[in-house]
Symmetry: C2
Subunit: 107 residues, 2 copies
């Protein structure tokens, strides 16, 4: 997966975040290519604000969005690409959490 090595530059809240936390199964089995394509699809989606992604055993990918509608559109597109059986093949465990970002700070 192509990686941004800095925190995402997001606008002033409120906006939305999708926190995807996962534990992979062993082996690639087409995972790397699909993950890359799903990230590219996110970047092209209207309302996409940025993404942060790290894996070291556990993986955490947080994508940021202008609205719940933008997330829903991306989700519909992602589900078109990623069948549920593939999720079970690639992930030993995962959680997806959809959040409203209320406050942000930092430098």
């Amino acid at each position: 997966m192509s990686r941004d090595l800095r925190p995402a530059d997001t606008p002033e809240p409120p906006y939305y975040a999708v926190i995807f936390t996962s534990l992979r199964t062993a082996g690639d089995d087409g995972y790397g290519e699909t993950a890359q394509r799903m990230l590219e699809a996110a970047r092209r989606q209207p309302g996409f604000l940025g993404v942060e992604s790290v894996r070291d055993g556990l993986g955490i990918t947080v994508s940021y969005w202008q609205s719940l509608e933008a997330i829903a559109a991306w989700k519909a597109d992602a589900e078109h690409r990623l069948a549920q059986r593939e999720a079970r093949r690639w992930y030993a465990a995962f959680r997806v959490r959809v959040c409203r970002v209320e406050r942000a700070s930092g430098f």
Copy 2:
């Protein structure tokens, strides 16, 4: 930092998340010990629900909380431990985002 190697087992939404994304400066300089102590302080805090943390260049730590009040209490405690000058010394960049988790799924 002691690490959980699975997604956090959180209750049904709504609850709250603090997404902390950071890029470290070079060298430890007391960072590891303080990070460990801050995580232990979070675990002791009433209203703490769980944490997920990964670093590989970029670091993402997501802590989960019952309420904004629990986050405020942890923040006050964390700020007591971590002076702003230490944040500048340890981090080349960071963002803290406080979110309300609206929906969650996964296995």
